[in-house]
Assembly symmetry: C2
Homo-oligomer: 195 residues x 2
Amino acid sequence: MVRAVPDTHGEILAAAARRFTVTGYRGTSLQDIAREVGCSKATVLYHFANKEALLAELMAPAIGVLRDLDDKLIGLTGAAAQEVAAQGFVDLAVRFRQEIAVLRGEFPELLCQPAFAHIQQISDRLRDALAGHSDRPGARIAALVLLAGISEACAEFADIPDDALRLALLTLARRAVEPVETPLPHPPTTEDKDS
Amino acid sequence: MVRAVPDTHGEILAAAARRFTVTGYRGTSLQDIAREVGCSKATVLYHFANKEALLAELMAPAIGVLRDLDDKLIGLTGAAAQEVAAQGFVDLAVRFRQEIAVLRGEFPELLCQPAFAHIQQISDRLRDALAGHSDRPGARIAALVLLAGISEACAEFADIPDDALRLALLTLARRAVEPVETPLPHPPTTEDKDS
DNA sequence: CTTCTGCCTGACCGATCGGTCAGGGTCTGA
DNA sequence: TCAGACCCTGACCGATCGGTCAGGCAGAAG
């Protein structure tokens, strides 16, 4: 019989995810996590340098996908940017529901931590894309409402299957974004140079 | 010359609102508030029974308006409920931007506090009304996205004037709610009795 | 056997939290 | 002048936080 290697590292990670979703990052103590795993607090800090490192490792996959989405948005404008942003973010939000639930509401403060310094910029670009790169207040507001609302919905509707949730959110997003006049699909003229 | 009565109570309230919006309820200590006012922590606790009482007094006006909205929704169905809910909530959210920013993200935990026990039910009813009392997942999801997104937007766009923000949000809400089949406006027949 | 290494722990640290308390200063009205 | 109400404070409390540290234990290697 294969000796069951105790994957303490993974267990801590899973327990932390569970606790964070219920009581938030700041509302969860290392003691709470240790209790859930069934080990001592010192063990948690043996496997992770500190509390922040634990969070960072928990968020790494989601952040990777977010960066990929950010790359895909480069160069897109108008309705195309809106569609890619909507589709990409809805997909991301649904897939990483739990991670989003972890950050729920603590975004502003958590983003201050060095491990997440760049996330703010990425999410700003995402919001800008969802607004079709328009600077009209209506478009910017709609984009923010959607991003925040979709995050919240994913954290809340834990019981709805991925596919159904994704479809509903995408339908809503397409209905809700403020339509922008797509730049002419003509090949760029001399006036279209980036300034 | 009229002796300037020091309105310490009010000053504490204002300082708390300012700090809470920046660092959140849990992220703000009584010491922080006292420092901002320029008094001792004990003074804060002389004017308010405890930290929770401070929050409750800060939220009282907004909660009052929320209850009024809740009353106005009684008996409304379909599109009428959606419109009243959208209009009422957008107005409330814009007027009480700062209060909403205070609760930002800490809603789930704060609602557990006895002073806010009933808020959860009211906001559930509000969400239900915004969904046109439909039980279709799409309608329920859209309602949640809107409520959460609008709250976030109000907290975020502090620089946009009330009127502009209200208009933009209401336009968005009307565009984004899932349309429901309004019950026939005919006078009730024998089949329309509430069951 | 000894030694070494990886995993884990209890005890402990300083800092900070919300909250209490006895007492001091000031104003007012008798 | 004195009593009492009101406002405010420093000192202090127990609890909890994230984090450190010396050492115990088990198994593999020599």
